[in-house]
């Protein structure tokens, strides 16, 4: 009796194991086929889109197999991908494509259905699609999301939809922008969505707008802003902003032998001081400048950095 039970048990286990293996292999094959099909379709869509953008731009192109499972997502990604790495494209044609194939509605629906990072990804794609005002209103609730990626990409959607109110929207954004988020905003600036005037940004009361202003100063090497940067460094109410202003001064390669800078550096912790030393080494500050700002114990770190190949990587 026991032997029969063992035999039946072993047979059942073997059947289950075989079934499971066949299922796994089948899923892998199906996934590979789907990936291959997606890759082909994405290439096809990109090709069609680029042909249309390179042509006279009057007719909305026909995308083959549109409507099949996953094809809308692929077309959204193709359009968003092209917009993300280029500027000066035929905006009218892109708008007509998005409206004709209802790509913005599709990404909005996906953002509503998904949660967390998937929602952020849907919003990131949506931010690259030319959309209308209703989309900006639809993503407004996501500005209060607990997920910072969702919040930021919702803001990016609003900025791309309505560039004329970009500064107001950044100013109203209730959360501090991180360095990477400011870098993303700078990419928008290069695409012509944000204005380049740094002066009003540095004078505003909004910390986020000041950060964007500082990023513009750093990126374009605006030496005239030195006085304002020193004021930020001296302002003890916002040490984070002071730190960014100090880095901006380093990027401009201005003299750091100022009373405001010396006071600020004494209040920095060890980790921040090391980071600043790396930045100074990268920008090529002389060891004599460093010696007058830092303590004796910190000098060997800087000298090692300057003498090593790491200087160009720091």
């Amino acid at each position: 009796m026991i032997e029969q039970f063992y035999i039946v048990y072993t047979l059942c286990a073997a059947v289950l194991a075989c079934g499971f293996s066949v299922g796994v292999v089948g899923a892998a094959v199906r996934e590979r086929r789907r990936t291959g099909r997606d890759a082909r379709l994405r290439t096809e869509y990109l090709h069609t889109l680029m042909l249309a953008l390179g042509g006279d731009g009057t007719q909305v192109p026909y995308f083959p197999l549109f409507g099949r499972f996953g094809s809308r997502r692929l077309l959204c990604e193709a359009v968003a991908g092209v917009v993300a790495i280029t500027y000066g494209l035929n905006d009218g044609l892109l708008r007509r494509i998005v409206a004709h194939y209802r790509l913005d509605r599709r990404m909005l629906r996906q953002a509503r259905r998904c949660r967390g990072y998937r929602r952020a990804q849907a919003l990131a794609v949506l931010a690259c699609l030319p959309a209308d005002e209703s989309v900006a209103a639809a993503v407004a609730p996501y500005l209060r999301s607990r997920n910072r990626y969702v919040r930021f990409h919702a803001l990016a959607v609003q900025l791309s939809v309505d560039p004329s109110h970009a500064l107001q929207r950044i100013g109203d954004y209730a959360y501090p922008l991180s360095a990477s988020e400011v870098a993303e905003l700078m990419a928008l600036l290069r695409r012509g969505i944000l204005p380049l005037a740094y002066g009003p940004l540095l004078e505003t009361r909004s910390l986020n707008l000041r950060r964007v202003g500082l990023a513009i100063v750093r990126q374009f090497g605006i030496e005239e802003a030195e006085g304002r940067l020193l004021q930020f460094v001296a302002d003890t109410a916002h040490p984070a902003l002071g730190r960014e202003a100090l880095y901006a001064l380093c990027s401009l390669r201005r003299s750091l032998l100022r009373r405001e800078v010396a006071v600020f550096i004494t209040e920095m912790d060890a980790r921040e001081r090391r980071a600043l030393l790396r930045c100074m080494a990268l920008e090529g500050y002389a060891p004599t400048t460093m010696q007058r700002l830092f303590e004796e114990a910190e000098r060997p770190y800087y000298e090692t950095l300057v003498q090593s190949y790491k200087r160009s990587l720091a």
Binding site: L46, V82, A84, R190, Y309
Partner: protein, 125 residues
């Protein structure tokens, strides 16, 4: 009949590579693609390209100099363009000093790129 020009695009990102490749269509040049610097070296040894477009600055920042590897010593041929997200002045200067002929920051204007490539290839006729 004109000489067929050859362009090589080096990019890990297949999407960006395709976008640049398709934007250069109709220039009357043969466009080849590869994914990394190793492929670029191999192809450049095998064929003479008129223009190499590299879509990443990373290969220049890790101690190597791809320009020296694809261009025989003392020559300005092939021309090397770099397109990258790097925007720091120092990085751009380093790239230009290492022999890069043209540096463009993403996002790029495809018409402008096409014009520059067309001028570059036209100047070699």
């Amino acid at each position: 009949m004109g000489i067929m020009r050859r362009i090589l695009i080096v990019a890990e990102d297949a999407f960006a590579r395709d976008v640049i490749r398709l934007s250069l269509a109709g220039l009357g040049a043969e466009v080849r693609c590869t994914t990394d610097c190793e492929g670029m070296r191999t192809l450049c040894r095998r064929e003479a390209f008129d223009l190499v477009i590299v879509l990443q600055a990373a290969s220049f920042l890790c101690g190597g100099n791809p320009v020296r590897e694809v261009r025989p010593a003392g020559l300005r041929h092939p021309a090397v363009y770099v397109l990258s997200w790097q925007q720091a002045e120092q990085t751009v200067l380093s790239l230009l000093e290492s022999g890069v002929d043209q540096y463009m920051t993403f996002p790029v204007n495809l018409q402008r790129l096409r014009r520059k490539v067309s001028d570059e290839l036209g100047g070699r006729v």
